[in-house]
């Protein structure tokens, strides 16, 4: 049993590492309207229906009688565990919500490494958690284990969450429905990605005298390149810096480097042309994968990659930061240059090689959910609504207290308060991308004030939206196939992806192993569920 716990803990740590690697995204901005942030103002007063006002009045009356406000607990995680200033922030929050919502709010911030385990225990043991982020925990597993509440029970969502409906487009909300039931609301963030963003250190490009300005500029403002351009740059880099590795390669050729839709969270059966077709196909037999394998193989043969690439699990940006690697590939979005330059500790040039894409699970990857065990669903839903609409609450949740944790600059952005820095900060959760709506509050220094609008446009303008947007699949019945497939992939896949085997041979081994592990059955299961979902939702 101890070993079980140890391994679980371990799993959580690994997962957290994965998440730190790819998740630190979405720097904040309000929707270009800092002026709306005034103390004590409920941003969407118009959306508060009579029922909601009544519920608040009732709670206040109740509190008057008992002398105690009822409490709503909100759980999410950060990277360093409970912030030192959390009690202070919670007090400030409750002081505000007692007025506006007639209840106390308590943030429960758990270390990312422990979040999954802690939440499972609390959700199944009946401890008080009312609202929680399903990041790490998983949206589908949460539903399968029965942790979450149907938000639309008795029309609650319509009555008390009007503000959310204004903030989140209906099709994004619908994308979080599982079996027609709405169990959660997505955080407002970038749902689309711009695939294949090749990031190269500015200093290295300068050293080879590469002129970025000769490339056209993409919609996002990054230089637009082809793979031939990139290969040309790589070759020059390798020649100039023979002691450095050219590229920190990762197993992200499909997740970040293609518009293949990983139906239900895995690539065992995918939509190769997600914009036009709902046919589940094997991506590993496709030309998309073959091209990648060929590319990686050539890079490896040319000596661009580390021979320890398979074993070294350090994140790509950390590798670039170390100074031994010069380039990496990720996916980008507005504001990405600032983010990746920060992660890599040097100025990075982002080459846009791909296209914009919104996968089926992009919106529903980690919605906010309500515990089925919550004592007062109405109060909890009202808090959920406030998280999306109320700038005061969201500011406290994202940034802490003004003057103590942050201060407002003259240009409207914010930075650490006087005497506070990254090392002694008492409240800086650094998980904006999972916050319900980080765009109703301030923007951190260095980001454009209209970042919220830019992200919204980026989502809206995405050209390649998966037809299966919002489809989720419960693979519990195929658990043994899934495990066998994952094992088969882990055995034969990475070698191909990192270019350590000749593509033809490597791919045929991989495909054969996946077939033997039951890929056809698994794909048939997906297809059947997808067809049923499509029929139900009138998509063809």
């Amino acid at each position: 049993m101890k070993k079980k716990i140890a391994s679980l803990l371990l799993s959580m740590t690994t997962m957290a590492m994965v998440l730190t690697g790819c998740g630190s995204s979405a720097p904040s901005s309000d929707q270009g309207a800092t002026a709306t942030i005034k103390d004590g103002e409920v941003a969407t007063a118009a959306s508060v229906s009579d029922k909601a006002a009544q519920a608040i009045a009732d709670r206040k009356a109740e509190a008057e009688k008992s002398g105690k406000y009822e409490k709503v607990v909100i759980a999410f995680f950060d990277w360093t565990g409970r912030p030192a200033g959390l009690d202070r922030v919670n007090e400030a929050l409750s002081a505000y919500t007692e007025e506006t919502l007639g209840l106390d709010v308590e943030l429960m911030i758990i270390d990312s490494a422990a979040y999954g385990d802690d939440m499972k225990l609390m959700l199944s043991s009946g401890e008080q958690v009312d609202l929680f982020s399903t990041c790490i925990l998983g949206y589908n597993p949460s539903i399968n284990n029965g942790y979450v509440l149907d938000l639309e029970e008795n029309g609650m969502f319509d009555d008390y969450c009007g503000g959310i409906k204004e903030k989140i487009r209906a099709d994004y909300l619908d994308a979080c429905r599982v079996g027609g039931v709405l169990y959660g609301t997505p955080p407002i963030k970038d749902y689309a990605i711009e695939t294949c963003a090749v990031c190269v250190g500015q200093e290295y490009l300068d050293a080879i005298g590469y002129d970025v300005s000769k490339l056209p500029t993409s919609d996002l403002g990054y230089p637009r390149a082809t793979w031939d351009d990139i290969n040309d740059i790589y070759a020059q880099l390798h020649e100039k810096f023979p002691d450095k590795y050219v590229m920190a390669i990762q197993d992200n050729e499909l997740t970040q480097g293609s518009s293949v839709d990983n139906i239900a969270g895995d690539y065992f059966g995918t939509l190769l042309d997600p914009q036009n077709s709902l046919k589940i196909e094997d991506v590993y037999e496709s030309d998309i994968f073959k091209e990648w394998a060929q590319r990686a193989y050539e890079w490896n043969q040319a000596g661009y990659l580390s021979q320890d690439a398979l074993t070294d699990t350090t994140g790509a940006s950390a590798k670039v930061k170390s100074g031994s690697y010069m380039a990496m590939m990720a996916c980008c979005k507005p504001g990405y240059k600032t983010q990746i330059s920060g992660e890599c500790g040097r100025d990075m040039v982002v080459f846009d090689v791909g296209e914009s894409f919104m996968s089926s699970s992009s919106v529903s990857s980690f919605p906010w959910c309500v515990n089925q065990n919550t004592e007062d669903p109405v109060a909890t839903l009202q808090v959920l609504n406030a998280l999306y609409t109320d700038s005061t609450i969201e500011t406290l949740m994202c940034w802490g207290q003004e003057g103590k944790d942050f201060k407002v600059n003259s240009d409207g952005t914010i930075t650490y308060a006087d005497g506070v820095d990254a090392n002694n900060s008492e409240y800086y959760p650094n998980v904006l991308w999972l916050m319900p709506n980080p765009y109703v509050t301030y923007v951190w220094q260095g980001d454009p004030l209209d970042l919220g609008q830019q992200i919204a446009d980026f989502n809206d303008n995405c050209t390649c939206k998966s037809k299966a947007l919002g489809f989720t699949w419960d693979n519990t019945d195929y658990a043994s196939e899934y495990t066998a497939l994952k094992n088969a992939y882990d055995e034969y896949g990475p070698k191909v992806v990192y270019g350590f085997v000749e593509p033809e041979q490597g791919i045929s081994e991989l495909v054969a192993a996946l077939k033997a592990a039951g890929l056809d059955d698994y794909m048939a299961g997906k297809q059947e569920a997808l067809d049923a979902w499509a029929a139900e939702n009138g998509i063809n």
């Binding site: 284990n145 969270g265 699990t313 519990t476 043994s480 899934y482 094992n487 990475p494």
Partner: protein, 309 residues
Amino acid sequence: MASGKTKTKKKNFKRYIPLYVMAFPGLLYLFINNYLPLPGLVLAFKKFNAKKGIYGSPFVGFKNFKYLFATKDAFVITRNTILYNLVFIIVNTILAIFVAILLAEMTSRIKKAYQSFILLPYMISMVIVSYLVFGFLSTENGFINNSILKPMGLDPISWYMEKKYWPFILVFVSAWKGVGYNCVIYLASILGIDRSIYESAAIDGASKWQQIFKITIPLLKPTIVMLTLLAVGRIFYSDFGLFYQVPQNQGALFSVTNTIDTYVYRGLLELGDMSMSSAAGLYQSLVGFILVLGSNLVVKKIDPEYALF
């Protein structure tokens, strides 16, 4: 224990009260940690749903167990788990006894230092061990490739992609890490042996070899049998760190490094399904339980003196 039979049970009880008091915290711990959760085993036969709770969730029979057996990998993971553990039991026992005897025979002052050095690896976390191993085996910067194979004019080996070396590497690492601990237990038993036996043997002209094989090892037998029986009980469990961390979770090595624990871990990590995890756990403990009973029975048949119970 069995030899201390006195006349009345009551008297016995009174006499042992201080011992019972001393044992109480331990027993309490055992009860809370090992016995209270037992009813939860029912989870292995249910489809867990937090809304309905553990006991309210619907029964699904043996469906959760199917997961372990419905895969083609079932054979490989069972084989790896059992064979590795068998080899570990044999190799580690022999090495531990060997080292314990060496230490016991040693009279110099640095004996304690040796003992500590041998025990040290046991204290190191597997994650750290995995990086020590990586220091040796890294393809580009590893000690073996750079400082041994290269000077000898041999081609470097991609250790983490070649299956054939791993059974040896794993056995070596397991021995290096585990021998110290077992050896301490054996050493304690050896030091507990009455010195006068050795003295009289020496007077009778027995050589060191004869003393070891005719006195030490026969008298160690109960300890050996006990430790081996305990190890056999865990034969269906594998040292997760050893099989997951040390090969750096490398897919290319799965066919020689995948065991029941790592397989279940990789599969269920993403599913987060409590019922299936408990099914796997129940299966492992049940088989372990049967194996312990079985081997104890065999030992009892051969020599009742050495049986655990």
